[in-house]
């Protein structure tokens, strides 16, 4: 029997799945050696058999068993929670795929507000009236959770999106019953820019391009952090560019931290503030410091402000 794979996308954007498809023919080769039992983006396996009897729309979610399950996206409403639990129950090895699944990702920025505030803003902007809210849809949870906050996860594979080759390597390793090799090094480890060890005393916003000669390769460009641009490379897990230049740096723009912290339990905000302070950079020149948790606001790190004035 072929090993069975099961895929789900929860509170995400399908970017992880697109990255997987970017493997091209290699992915088709993999598909030929496994049985895909559930993958709503690409195949028609449903949560319930609609013909099995009267459905009131509240039926339980039934998923097939699989050797490997991949869940992208975080968990933000009651239905996603049901699906996450069903995936855990049915998959021998469960992979949290992408930064939404591993750390909450961009959608966890919502955690700076209550779900009531979010609904009011989205459905009744500027109206003093209480918003007319959709009622017949899965209720929002109090916040956006990473998958591992809700169910046990065996392998965490961050990235927004994860590097296509890395996804294949992890799946292939699991098919060989080996542990996937996930290094925990920072983005700076593979960044070839020139570092002189001292930078500016303040940070500037990214309103004008970095200083570099486009005719010269990236290794002739000065480190963006040293140029006074906020670059999250030092506190962000590397791997986006494989062993080569990190992807954002190739576009000559600073890293924003999309792989989450270097160590799985790390805190990008604290780590970055410490890093700035120890390099003599005034953290007050940063606008919107909470954005240092732009990709890792799950695990309770981003919270609504409680009647106290935020410093920014």
């Amino acid at each position: 029997m072929l090993p069975r794979l099961s895929f789900e996308c929860l509170h995400g954007c399908s970017g992880c799945e697109m990255a997987l498809l970017d493997c091209g023919e290699q992915l088709l080769g993999l598909f030929d050696r496994v049985e895909i039992v559930h993958f709503p983006l690409l195949m028609d396996h449903k949560y319930q058999n609609p013909l099995s009897g009267a459905s009131d729309g509240e039926g339980e979610i039934i998923l097939p068993e699989a050797e490997i399950g991949l869940v992208s996206g975080g968990v933000a409403n009651t239905e996603q929670l049901q699906v996450a639990r069903a995936m855990r129950a049915q998959c021998r090895t469960l992979i949290s795929l992408g930064t939404c699944a591993t750390h909450g990702g961009i959608p966890a920025l919502r955690n700076q507000w209550t779900s009531e505030a979010t609904l009011q803003t989205v459905f009744a902007y500027g109206s003093p009236e209480k918003a007319l809210l959709p009622g017949e849809v899965p209720a929002l949870l109090d916040r956006v959770y990473s998958v591992d906050e809700q169910v046990a996860v065996d392998v965490a594979l961050p990235g927004c999106p994860p590097r296509p080759e890395m996804m294949l390597e992890v799946i292939e390793a699991l098919l060989r019953r080996e542990s996937p090799d996930l290094a925990h090094k920072s983005v700076c480890e593979t960044c070839p820019v020139i570092r002189q060890g001292k930078g500016q005393g303040t940070m500037r916003r990214f309103l004008a391009n970095a200083d570099y000669d486009p005719e010269e390769p990236v290794d002739q460009m000065r480190c963006l952090l040293e140029q006074g641009l906020l670059c999250m490379g030092p506190v962000t897990a590397g791997g986006c560019g494989g062993r080569e230049t990190p992807l954002c740096i190739r576009a000559r723009v600073p890293c924003r931290g999309c792989y989450g912290p270097v160590r799985p339990g790390g805190n990008q905000l604290l780590d970055m503030m410490n890093g700035l302070a120890s390099n003599g950079i005034d953290y007050r020149s940063l606008v919107d410091r909470k954005s240092l948790l732009r990709f890792s606001g799950g695990h309770g790190l981003l919270k609504p402000a409680r009647n106290r004035k935020e410093s920014n």
């Binding site: 498809l21 023919e25 983006l41 195949m43 959709p134 916003r205 391009n209």
Partner: protein
């Protein structure tokens, strides 16, 4: 004893989002209602508030991992507007180049990976085979070529702009890096390969797919609506910019700049969906999903754009548009014709890519005008694969977001998708008899819209 019941399709599959369909049957087994509910809400309009506007293009890209370039670029345009930044011509050209290239992989994905299994393997086939994996087994050479070509489009973006999924190179005031001559030459060579493929894809579909589904193209999920898309001052199809053209079901239209969208369009909330519905406010008839007499309903996305434009400015796509119009008229209303229009747009996107890469201004090193953070309002528009996309931001004196309104492509099509599903369900379900094949045909009406 028969009683009223609800049949659910949950989740709708081979689409790019999370949705379910609930079909309501009355005591006599007739369809009394059918709804497409979008079940996820992420709240971008909330959590961009307070953040520096120039950072927003790197946040809202995560609205959609399939069309991140669209949100990225609508956002940089809106931020340009807030800050009064005017990108240099080459900054605009590079943005447009990336946007049209990003349309290519999307159309290949949509037609071949998601929709084609219904046509090539048959709408009534076993669900475990009726998918891209089944296509690989039945047509291995075609599937391999399709996978390669989609990957090539993505690789072009990654090679030039660092990231293809969740891009970073569009910036307030222009683009983050210029294009070198060596890059231009390599991309131009790849663009020709994609153009060849696009022509092949449309020929293949006309010959082997659409010809076998003549009846369904016109009848499945068929409704009569208006259309919205973008054109330039000469009425040519535009994806990156242009005037919005809102066409009534009778084919008459008005043109207006995207910045005037609030005078023409309005949003409505329904209790059964997290997606708001947009309707044509300026028609003055209000909004109704009554299948017998819908009001305010128009459609966006490929079929809409080909209906509203007078012509296409590139030769191969124009020839295909003429052929299409000769067969289906203007405006064409058949819902499955979205697929045909999608492949014509694929040809256009490839031709436009070739054209932009031949423009000698594309390698000009001046790609960004430094921006200044300040208070303002900006409305950014692009035509996304799924339709007209509008980002509307306001900023405070510090250049941070105070308000954001986003109208994404799918939102416009929620109302018509509901009407199409209702029409498909009502015409396919008799006496309460429902089968997997019928349910899949109902989903085919949704897949045409590419939600």
């Amino acid at each position: 004893m028969p009683k009223s019941q609800v049949v659910s399709i949950h989740p709708v599959t081979r689409i790019e989002g999370q949705a379910r369909v609930d079909i309501h049957l009355d005591e006599s087994g007739r369809v009394s209602d059918a709804r497409v509910a979008i079940s996820a809400l992420r709240g971008f309009e909330q959590f961009v508030i307070g953040r520096p506007a120039e950072e927003i293009p790197r946040i809202v890209s995560r609205i959609c991992g399939i069309c991140p370039w669209m949100h990225h670029l609508a956002a940089v345009k809106a931020v340009d507007g807030c800050f009064g930044a005017v990108p240099p011509p080459t900054g605009q050209l590079l943005r447009e180049l990336c946007q049209v290239i990003a349309h290519i992989h999307d159309k290949i994905l949509h037609f071949f990976f998601l929709a084609a299994p219904d046509f090539v393997l048959g709408p009534d086939g076993d669900y475990s085979v009726r998918n891209i994996m089944g296509l690989v087994r039945q047509e291995p050479e075609l599937a391999a070529r399709v996978a390669r070509m989609r990957q090539l489009g993505q690789a072009m973006l990654a090679r030039f702009a660092g990231k293809s999924i969740h891009p970073v190179a569009g910036v307030a005031g222009g683009f983050s890096k210029p294009m070198l001559e060596t890059e231009r030459r390599e991309l131009a060579a790849d663009a020709l390969v994609l153009l060849d493929f696009a022509s092949f894809a449309l020929d293949y579909a006309k010959r082997s797919v659409f010809s076998r589904f003549r009846e369904e193209l016109q009848s499945l999920g068929a409704i009569t609506t208006g259309f919205l898309g973008a054109v330039d001052a000469q009425g040519n199809l535009r994806l990156y910019d242009g005037l919005l053209r809102l066409m009534r079901p009778d084919g008459s239209w008005v043109d207006f700049p995207a910045s005037d969208y609030e005078r023409h369009l309005a949003e409505q909330v329904e209790p059964w969906s997290y997606a708001k519905m947009v309707y044509a406010k300026s028609w003055g008839e209000g909004f109704s999903l009554n299948p017998a007499a819908p009001m305010g309903v128009y459609r966006v996305n490929t079929l809409a754009r080909l209906n509203v434009c007078d012509q296409v400015a590139t030769p191969r796509a124009q020839a295909e548009l003429e052929d299409f119009r000769a067969q289906f008229g203007r405006p064409a209303q058949g819902t499955l014709l979205y697929h045909w229009a999608r492949l014509i747009e694929l040809v256009y996107a490839c031709e436009r890519t070739v054209e932009l890469l031949a423009d000698e201004r594309i390698t000009d090193p001046l790609v960004r005008t430094p921006a200044e953070s300040k208070a303002g309002r900006g409305i950014g528009h692009v035509e996304a694969p799924r339709g007209t996309l509008i980002h509307d931001y306001s900023t405070d004196d510090n250049g941070c977001i105070t308000r954001a309104n986003l109208i994404v492509g799918t939102t416009h099509n929620i109302a018509p998708m509901n009407l199409s599903v209702r029409q498909a369900a009502a015409s396919l379900i008799c006496d309460g008899e429902v089968s997997e094949s019928i349910l899949n045909r109902i989903e085919m009406a949704i897949r045409a819209y590419d939600p």
